[in-house]
């Protein structure tokens, strides 16, 4: 329960945050209106907001947002599933894991955005190539967290489950998997963010729909206001995704007092 005092503090904080937002837009407006910053490169905030409003009013944005959302979710689901299965397998198979270790490291170290042109060639300019890019980004986050989750299982908990009669398969289902999924859930923010990055970057590098495509098109026409509008919409969209993830996490990780995260670098 929040005390009245802290909720009043919360309102004040919210007000200050809004104030900060308005001052940034205000400064932007002043600097571009007075010509200190060239409007051609920095746009005009009123026109940017007008653009955003027009998109939502004439409904043009929804189809593009829908495409980006579908790509993000598909990349997230596929990457998570692959990371989960391969992570569990390698964590429990020491020989395979020591064999594949350098390749996993190499795969993670590689800047995977560079694969986008290859995926475009393989999968075309549609949704699939963006999903593939997102999968390569999500996979490693999930993989390392699953791996960590399996290694994280306390040997006592494991011995206890075995003494309680768990077979190997039951250990996998009732001990390793819950521990691993806990780690996956705690990295949810990072992995859904990465899926989003994969989708947008993929669209930006070549596509026929999606918010990244809108930005690409506007950039080609030197329409900086539309570029900024696209960025604004993407940011808001990412925030909404993040809120959704937080809500999901609260439900799924009830049993957990605090959640650590491993991030691949």
């Amino acid at each position: 329960m929040r005390s009245r005092n802290s909720s009043r503090g919360g309102i004040r904080l919210f007000a200050y945050r809004l104030l900060l937002l308005f001052s940034v837009f205000g400064a932007w407006h002043l600097l571009t209106a007075t010509g200190i910053l060239p409007r051609f490169f920095f746009g005009t905030p009123t026109l940017v907001l007008e653009n955003v409003a027009r998109w939502f009013i004439n409904g043009k944005i929804y189809a593009h947002l829908g495409v980006t959302l579908v790509e993000t979710l598909l990349a997230f689901a596929t990457g998570t599933l692959l990371g989960l299965v391969i992570g569990l397998w390698l964590a429990l198979a020491p020989i395979a894991s020591s064999l594949l270790d350098p390749y996993i490291k190499a795969g993670n170290a590689m800047p995977r955005v560079i694969l986008a042109p290859i995926f475009a060639v393989w999968f075309g300019l549609g949704i699939l190539s963006k999903v593939a890019l997102g999968v390569t980004l999500v996979f490693f986050i999930v993989f390392f967290n699953v791996y960590q989750g399996v290694k994280d299982v306390s040997p006592i908990v494991l011995a206890n489950a075995r003494m309680l009669g768990a077979t190997r398969r039951q250990l996998l289902r009732y001990v390793y998997l819950p521990s691993a999924t806990a780690w996956v859930f705690s990295s949810l923010h990072t992995s859904i963010g990465m899926a989003f990055v994969g989708a947008v970057v993929g669209e930006y590098l070549g596509s026929s729909s999606g918010v990244g495509y809108l930005i690409l098109q506007a950039e080609g026409a030197f329409d900086i206001n539309t570029v900024f509008a696209g960025i604004l919409v993407l940011t808001a969209f990412a925030l909404v995704l993040d809120f959704a993830v937080t809500a999901l996490e609260k439900r799924l990780l009830r049993w957990r007092p605090a959640a650590p995260i491993v991030e691949p670098h």
């Binding site: 006592i156 206890n160 309680l164 009669g165 009732y174 049993w255």
Partner: protein
């Protein structure tokens, strides 16, 4: 009568830079329904022995017999209460207690129902939906106790199960354990470094030497009448006599063990 659990000439050697003999030539028998406590200085390989009895660890030499049969693999007749936290943190108390039944193929709802009964028996009927991190240390031990006893094992192995608890909680738990055990007598092998705990609980106390190569150096029948209250029995004359006799033997080993730990 065939002993419920018999350790015969058990030796455990751990390979390493310098191989370390944890226990050597240990033979202990636990009769059906008997409560045996093993006391010894810390680090004397008592837990190693328990792991051998559970089948979690294969001895370097010697045989374990369970109800007369040589043990291969895990000891399916034994329940094990660990010293450290052993509950699955992602399962609530009831699901933790029900786990063993589910592993044996019992239907989920039925196993939860029976788990609730056991939670009530250890005084936690209202805590079934709490997760381990929402329970106190004593409550978690109760859950672990119910988790072990629900499977009705004929042998119970206990590795200093209450050592992490404060004194009051500990005595409460010891009394509860005795009460549950009296109702349905199992063979118990109880490991502890606390002599008072050993005497107040057990039918027989086995004293271990300090490690390495720890082995039993004496055993004492505890003829204190049951039912016992662990707090009150400590004040009786007979308890003190037993305590003095066993402590005389144990004292030397504790000092030896202490000196060795200092060397390390």
């Amino acid at each position: 009568m065939t002993p419920a659990l018999a350790l015969e000439q058990i030796t455990c050697t751990f390979a390493g830079a310098s191989s370390y003999i944890a226990v050597r030539d240990v033979s202990i028998e636990v009769s059906p329904g008997e409560f045996v406590a093993v006391v010894g200085p810390t680090g004397c390989g008592k837990s190693t022995l328990l792991n051998v009895a559970a089948g979690l660890l294969a001895p370097s030499a010697g045989t374990v017999r369970v109800l007369g049969e040589p043990l291969r693999g895990l000891n399916r007749h034994a329940g094990y209460m660990f010293q450290a936290e052993c509950l699955m943190p992602w399962r609530n108390a009831a699901e933790n207690v029900a786990a063993g039944l589910q592993f044996r193929g019992l239907e989920r709802l039925e196993s939860i129902r029976r788990a609730q009964e056991w939670l009530a028996r250890v005084g936690l009927e209202d805590f079934g939906s709490r997760y381990p991190h929402q329970l106190s240390g004593g409550m978690r031990k109760r859950v672990a106790l119910a988790q072990t006893l629900i499977l009705d094992p004929s042998i119970i192995l206990m590795d200093e199960p209450f050592s992490a608890l404060d004194l009051q909680t500990r005595q409460l738990m010891e009394n509860e354990l005795l009460e549950l055990w009296t109702r349905n007598r199992k063979s118990v092998l109880f490991i502890t470094h606390d002599l008072e705990e050993a005497i107040s609980l057990a039918d027989r106390v086995v004293v271990f030497s300090a490690g390495p190569a720890a082995h039993p150096i004496g055993q004492f029948a505890i003829d204190l009448p049951r039912p016992r209250d662990v707090a009150e029995v400590r004040l009786t004359k007979r308890f003190l006599e037993l305590y003095q006799r066993i402590w005389e033997l144990l004292k030397g080993e504790v000092l030896k063990g202490h000196a060795q730990q200092k060397l390390i």
